[in-house]
């Protein structure tokens, strides 16, 4: 016979300690991860923020963001004052104080001036590759979500997207190097020795030569675009599919063509979603180092990308500095000392700030989007 008294527990519930132990173990792990992450950020902020911010108005040291990257010269003058001057200021100083001796002079590569070059390079790389990736990616997504029916072609495309998404970034670097740097066709009057194939064009002395674009902004953008393409396609297709089928049916039923339907009734509603997810893609493109190491990036460059160009095409075919590659150089190629820390932590801090803004922006946009678009 059932004894209702058993329903009332005496003392703590059975297995209470097991419960508490399991929960606190899992919680402990979770908060350990979170606190390690927070500590690392705090360390970078603590070391990097003073480079960018200063205590008096206007609080932001724009010089670090707008000055070119230079070698840092550290020396004592005869009065025993210590000077830290970037290369340009240093040569000015030397010409002004002709005959004066400098003592204890030391130079630190990449540590003087600011990071205008890397910032500009990363911006150009990001913009270029996102334009390419959005154009091709959104078109591909439109095909997949609006036109495609089950067919071997579609199956192959999906398989290709899945596989492309998994390829390690360094393999994209190899690919970009062997294809965009060394093999894609260019029109030139003098084909290089290593050209794979030179087809004479009938106009003038020009050849269509498969000799690649060399390490250049173009090659870097193309490589990054290939890398990010699967991400853009997947995200765009998701946004396109989120538009209710009813919108399309209604438009088609009113006699609009497929393309009119897509242009007027599908794209406008999925555009916010596509742009939001592209923000996340930007953080990835801006942060990748391996694909641009051999295709676009250069450690030191005197001019900003747009300076000293004869024609606009030169911009595309010149190498650029890039923020992630700059950080790699600062971390791997120069020994750390009190004079290099400003450049090192400052660059990383600016970079993290950029990434934080982008991902915060995408998080907020996503939340807004969810609140706004409900059908």
């Amino acid at each position: 016979m059932f004894n209702p008294e058993t329903l009332i527990r005496k003392g703590l519930p059975k297995g209470h300690f097991k419960d508490v132990a399991a929960r606190s173990f899992l919680g402990g792990i979770t908060y350990l991860v979170v606190s390690i992450a927070v500590l690392l950020f705090a360390k970078i902020i603590a070391d990097g923020a003073p480079v960018l911010f200063k205590p008096e108005a206007p609080f932001v040291d724009f010089e670090f963001l707008t000055a070119k990257n230079e070698t840092l010269h550290v020396f004592d003058d005869a009065q025993g004052n210590r000077h830290q001057l970037p290369a340009a200021a240093y040569s000015q100083y030397v010409s002004q104080h002709e005959g004066a001796t400098q003592f204890n002079e030391q130079t630190y590569s990449y540590s003087g001036g600011g990071i205008a070059g890397p910032i500009a390079g990363t911006a150009l790389l990001t913009i270029g590759s996102m334009i390419l990736a959005l154009f091709f990616g959104v078109s591909a997504a439109i095909y997949l979500s609006e036109y495609a029916k089950q067919s071997p072609f579609i199956h192959a495309i999906r398989l290709a997207i899945l596989n492309l998404a998994g390829i390690p970034s360094i393999v994209f670097g190899l690919f970009g190097f062997s294809v965009f740097v060394l093999a894609v066709p260019v029109i030139t009057s003098a084909p290089s020795d290593r050209s794979l194939l030179a087809i004479p064009l009938l106009i003038g002395d020009y050849f269509l030569s498969f000799q690649g674009w060399n390490s250049s902004l173009m090659a870097g953008c193309a490589t990054l675009a290939c890398m990010i393409l699967p991400v853009i396609i997947t995200a765009s297709e998701e946004s396109l599919r989120a538009v209710p089928q009813g919108f399309r049916d209604a438009s088609l039923a009113m006699g609009a063509t497929r393309w009119q339907t897509i242009r007027k009734c599908v794209l406008p509603f999925s555009l916010p979603g596509i742009l939001t997810s592209s923000l996340l893609a930007i953080t990835r493109v801006a942060g990748e180092t391996a694909p641009i190491m051999f295709t676009a990036a250069v450690a030191a460059k005197d001019d900003l990308p747009w300076q000293g160009l004869k024609n606009p095409f030169d911009l595309l075919s010149s190498q650029v500095q890039a923020l992630p590659y700059h950080i790699y150089t600062l971390a791997a190629r120069i020994p750390s000392s009190e004079f290099t820390q400003r450049a090192q932590y400052g660059s990383v801090f600016v970079f993290l700030l950029l990434v934080a803004f982008l991902s915060l922006g995408s998080m907020i946009l996503r939340a807004k989007l969810r609140a706004k678009l409900k059908w």
Binding site: P4, L7, I8, R9, P13, K14
Partner: protein, 255 residues
């Protein structure tokens, strides 16, 4: 003084999901060792009420009893020192959509025993066999006890869920539209099973199907808009309802 024949005493129960009030002042006594059916249109609160009996509503954040009490054999199940796991062992439940775990048939039935700390193999074997026999499933599955439960048909899976619910010898068995996802033949089997099971268990069943209520219940309660409209012997509710709303519902003029 409560008669031993009463399994559940529902006293002025009001219930809310957050700010949304779904049950208003429900009062009734559910008799033991009988089948009690809840009928009513969708959203009338009958499932919510059923889910109060084993406090499975606690899972939903914001769900709470706003007034009244539910007593099982004279124990208030909402008191703070209730052993929730024990309560649920004593009040078994079968859901609308059959939901066996992604485990073998045997492990599904033995689940409630294992979480209660019974792990002796020989003991488990006996109980599992009994439960499956009581659920009229033993003959169909005795040769493949250790294959996946998902290999069974829908009706078999639902009977497996019943076997799982009665493996712990509960006092009360709650059934939330147990045949809603089944075809008529499987439904018939479940109904036969219910009339078999009421010899041992107090059964409370929520159903949309009025024919089902007449076929297998002893008592019927009609609920509407979160209120208990009428409660009485099944024959009386269907043939001679006192309330005009009940009459309208059972004759099919609304709902």
């Amino acid at each position: 003084m409560v008669s031993m024949q009463t399994a559940i005493q529902i006293q002025n129960v009001s219930f809310a999901y957050g700010a949304k009030q779904v049950l208003h002042d429900v009062c009734m006594d559910i008799p033991a060792r009988q089948v009690t059916a809840y009928i009513g249109p969708s959203g009338c609160g009958k499932s919510t009420l059923l889910r109060c009996f084993n406090r499975i509503n606690d899972r939903i954040s914001g769900a709470h009893l706003t007034a009244g009490s539910i007593r099982i054999h004279d124990v208030d199940i909402n008191r703070a020192d209730i052993d929730l796991q024990e309560l649920r062992r004593r009040v078994g439940m079968v859901f609308q959509k059959y939901n066996p775990f992604a485990k073998s048939i045997y492990d599904n039935v033995a689940f409630s025993l294992r979480v209660a700390g019974k792990t002796k193999r020989s003991e488990l074997d006996d109980i599992v066999e009994d439960a499956l026999k009581n659920a009229a499933l033993w003959d169909e599955v005795k040769d493949r006890l250790h294959s996946s439960a998902f290999g069974l048909s829908g009706g078999q899976q639902q009977r497996l869920c019943i076997a799982r619910a009665i493996a712990n010898q509960p006092e009360i068995l709650l059934m939330d539209e147990p045949c809603a996802a089944l075809d008529p033949l499987a439904t018939l089997k479940i109904e036969e099973l219910i009339s078999e099971l009421k010899k041992q268990y107090t059964i409370i069943i929520v159903t949309h199907n009025m024919a089902q209520a007449t076929r297998c219940s002893d008592q019927t309660a009609f609920m509407y808009l979160g209120k208990l409209v009428e409660f009485g012997p099944t024959m009386q509710i269907f043939e001679n309802p006192k309330d005009p709303q009940t009459e309208a519902y059972v004759t099919g003029t609304f709902g």
